[in-house]
């Protein structure tokens, strides 16, 4: 690989047909940090949280009515997914996913966009949960994008306050057993209380990392401190009624004192006095600046950009920068792009389905138009990633999608890429010469076998399909 290819693909999202080889690859990456714009022009057209919330509760009502009607008619099965409200609600997800895809394909700051995707996966939510389906994209746009070049603790706080995360890790339903509300429902004999899911994942996945020395008691203490951190009008039953009464716009973050567990909390041997929502803020700040967090994040960043088994000296350097600069991510990225390990001439990372398909779109000069059915464009676009095995914002677990070759380089995964490449290449203009595209984009890095097989293709479309699945496109 040339240095240009490393900058384009390992750090960026892949070359476009008009891209000229870079004379200053490091400078190209560094400048992107100045040119990056957190707001996406197209997000203005997306539905608001309040609208998504309202649509969700409308869907829930419609579903209930459909089930009742079906049971009166004696039908055993109700096709809930076919309700117009279901399709409409899924439309919010598809529209958000399409914004993400189109922004990545057109991006002039692909290095920073890759970082957005990286952090979005670090703080993974999964659309398997009904309402998260409508909110996952908003979390990336509202909590990740604005903080990708800032301090880690600000991103952490924004994520933990986002309704998508609060819902996904069951925080909206967590009640302090000794809180005002907790005591009231206990007196009524209801068994509802603490949920430690978010507390556990903050420690294990978001900050310190697994096996870094925290205990079950730290998890429970953090869960207790987090009680009261919720969002307006989400969840079920009495909690939903309470937060609706206390809060403003549906879906907005809310600190609800009646749900909050009173008392001081002890986490990692440090005691945090009761200070309402400041208690969690103080804990999160300390967690973000903890050496274990620095190690955890440095390892993940190095794994994502450099190698599945990242070189230890590089991890150590990133870790030091992170700690010295108080979690300033921009400083960490600057250390990353100037690291000699980053420019080693090896294709060390197998592209994930996301990486590969975005790279394929960019190589083709854009997302293909789907003129047969423009209303279905977002739906089809999001569906392609699912068919490749990496549905957008649906890793199925709070750990996010895996980031090493063993998880993506499977026979079936490769087979599907070939199927998708064929389908994409059907949209190639017959005037396109894939030999010329291959030569221009890969230059002297083009393998003889690729040049030959592409040249011998029976049509430009087939040549383009083969170029899209060539070894040059599978690794970065």
């Amino acid at each position: 690989m040339r240095k240009t290819d490393i900058a384009w693909s390992r750090f960026g999202l892949g070359p476009r047909p008009g891209d000229e080889p870079l004379t200053d690859p490091i400078g190209w990456l560094r400048d992107q940090m100045d040119d990056y714009r957190p707001d996406l022009a197209s997000t203005g057209a997306l539905a608001s949280r309040a609208r998504i919330n309202a649509d969700f509760y409308a869907l829930r009502t419609a579903r209930k009515q459909a089930m009742q009607a079906a049971s009166m008619a004696g039908d055993a099965k109700v096709k809930v997914a076919q309700l117009p409200q279901s399709r409409q609600f899924r439309g919010h997800y598809e529209a958000q996913a399409a914004v993400r895809i189109r922004a990545a394909v057109a991006s002039e700051t692909p290095f920073v966009d890759r970082l957005v995707h990286f952090w979005s996966n670090h703080f993974a939510v999964s659309i398997d949960k009904p309402l998260v389906l409508g909110l996952a994209g908003l979390m990336e746009f509202e909590a990740i994008r604005p903080h990708v070049l800032g301090r880690f603790e600000d991103m952490l706080l924004a994520v933990v306050q986002h309704p998508a995360m609060l819902l996904y890790l069951d925080q909206v339903q967590s009640i302090g057993p000794k809180s005002q509300f907790g005591q009231k429902i206990a007196a009524r004999g209801r068994n509802q209380g603490l949920n430690e899911n978010l507390g556990r994942e903050i420690l294990e996945l978001h900050t310190l990392g697994a096996r870094s020395g925290y205990s079950q008691s730290d998890v429970t203490e953090l869960a207790r401190a987090l009680t009261g951190w919720t969002a307006v009008g989400l969840g079920n039953g009495p909690v939903q009624r309470l937060t609706t009464r206390l809060g403003g716009e549906p879906g907005d973050f809310l600190f609800a004192p009646p749900l909050h567990e009173p008392g001081k909390r002890t986490i990692l041997d440090r005691t945090y006095p009761q200070a309402g929502m400041q208690q969690v803020r103080a804990i999160l700040t300390d967690l973000a600046r903890h050496p274990a967090t620095a190690r955890h994040l440095a390892t993940k960043i190095a794994r994502h950009f450099i190698a599945d088994e990242p070189p230890a000296p590089l991890v150590a350097r990133l870790e030091t920068v992170y700690l010295e600069k108080g979690g300033d991510l921009r400083a960490v990225y600057a250390a990353l792009i100037t690291a000699p390990e980053a420019w080693a001439n090896t294709e060390s990372k197998f592209r994930t389905p996301w990486d590969w398909l975005i790279g394929a779109f960019r190589l083709q000069g854009g997302v293909p138009e789907m003129p047969d059915n423009p209303d279905q464009a977002d739906h089809q676009l999001a569906g392609l990633f699912a068919q490749l095995g990496q549905p957008i914002w649906q890793p199925g677990s709070p750990a996010g999608f895996a980031d090493s070759a063993g998880d993506w380089a499977g026979p079936e995964a490769l087979f599907r890429r070939v199927e998708v490449a064929q389908r994409l290449a059907r949209h190639t203009s017959p005037a396109t010469d894939p030999r010329e595209v291959a030569g221009r984009v890969f230059g002297e890095a083009l393998r003889p076998a690729t040049a030959q097989v592409v040249a011998r293709a029976e049509s430009p479309q087939q040549g383009m399909a083969l170029l899209l699945v060539a070894p040059e496109m599978m690794r970065r």
Binding site: I175, N191, A210, Q216, A399, E412, R416, A449, R456, Q462
Partner: protein
């Protein structure tokens, strides 16, 4: 390449099983034995799947959730009740073709899914210390089966990693690529060892699926049928791994568990049906990375725990119809860390012992091969 094609039955003109190299260990027609490992990802709640309804502390701890197992098959001297969604599994238990090991756990004693799955699948004492999986190491002990391993997954799961090439298959909603382009892709990858090997495996598997006319099927029952038929073929797969996701039930557990178990039951039923006569030569092991808390949490679910349940099935299962448990009890004082079912049986010991019996291998020797970092572990005896 030749062995791979033979395994996949892609070309009838190629060698048949009769030409497979003679095997070095005892046991008649060892290539007729089949093994399927089903992993339940997300920490399945063994206390809900096979409920210790004879333990008074269970009813106290689980309250209304305990009632959701009423009507299920009663097992283990009436101490346990199998969840009623597991209809076929219950029937298998009655027919002495299913066995359960309760309060069992791998060597892992923490509560991270990802680390727990790694320990269960790699067979190490600690997460990420073994680079291969125990199914992969089992294959090293079964030379005749080394090219007959398959994962129903888009890529090779940790448990199957090792030095042998494992085929993977997952049904796709996409239409198949044309034969012409498949040949061209082979030329494209000719000088790229990693991609060439993946591509050969994918092509061969798809040829088999096309022959079975099952491509594109989805759903638990369809996957089970597909797996069963692939295992039933004379030249088909012998060692298989399947994945079952969605067991992490922090909230609203009762209805989710009913649905989840219904799907698992359908998968196992169609797997057994698809195997047909070969079911009598098959061992199925179902296990999860760990169990869940004994108490219900504040959101009608359970949190990450320790001790869990293993299920073993097969047409000729040794000691079937039993529940093996050294029951630790569910009183608060008996719980691990005051919250979890205390594990009393090592999952590794159960896996090692049942595989040794199934493949007529020496149990002690096999254990040492499967779990090299746990030398003290003895094969499980009921």
């Amino acid at each position: 390449m030749l062995d791979r094609r033979r395994f996949l039955g892609a070309a009838g003109a190629l060698a048949t099983t009769a030409l497979l190299p003679r095997i070095a260990y005892a046991g008649p027609a060892a290539t007729e034995q089949r093994f399927v490992f089903i992993i339940q990802r997300g920490a399945a709640d063994g206390l809900h799947i096979l409920a210790p309804t004879g333990d008074p502390a269970f009813l106290k701890q689980r309250g209304v959730m305990a009632d959701t197992v009423l009507g299920g098959e009663v097992l283990g001297e009436s101490f346990f009740t199998l969840h009623p969604s597991l209809k076929r599994v219950g029937l298998l238990a009655k027919q002495k073709q299913a066995r359960f090991v309760h309060a069992s756990a791998s060597a892992y004693r923490d509560r991270s899914h990802f680390d727990g799955q790694n320990v269960l699948e790699s067979g190490g004492r600690q997460p990420y210390t073994e680079k291969t999986g125990w199914v992969g190491r089992l294959l090293m002990q079964l030379p005749a089966m080394q090219d007959r391993a398959m994962a129903i997954a888009p890529s090779v799961p940790m448990a199957m990693r090792g030095s042998t090439q494992v085929a993977t298959y997952a049904p796709s909603a996409l239409s198949d690529a044309s034969d012409d382009i498949m040949t061209r892709v082979s030329a494209l990858y000719a000088d790229d060892a990693q991609l060439a090997s993946l591509w050969d495996s994918a092509r061969a598997t798809h040829e088999l699926a096309d022959n079975l006319d099952l491509d594109g099927h989805r759903g638990a029952a369809a996957i089970g049928m597909l797996a069963g038929q692939m295992l039933a073929q004379p030249d088909g797969a012998r060692i298989m791994m399947m994945e079952s996701d969605g067991w992490d039930m922090h909230s609203s557990q009762a209805p989710r568990m009913a649905m989840q178990l219904k799907n698992l039951d359908a998968m196992i039923a169609s797997l057994a049906d698809g195997l047909g006569a070969a079911w009598t030569k098959t061992l199925v092991i179902v296990a999860s990375e760990f169990g869940r808390t004994v108490a219900i949490n504040g959101t009608a679910g359970t949190d990450h725990g320790t001790g869990g349940l293993m299920m073993l099935m097969g047409g000729a299962l040794d000691g079937a119809g039993q529940v093996d448990a050294d029951w630790p009890g569910l009183n608060p004082a008996a719980l691990l860390d005051g919250r979890d079912l205390r594990p009393t049986i090592a999952a590794e010991a159960v896996i090692g012992a049942s595989l040794a019996a199934h493949f007529s291998l020496d149990p002690e020797r096999l254990m040492a091969r499967l779990y090299p970092s746990q030398p003290g572990l003895k094969p499980f005896r009921a």
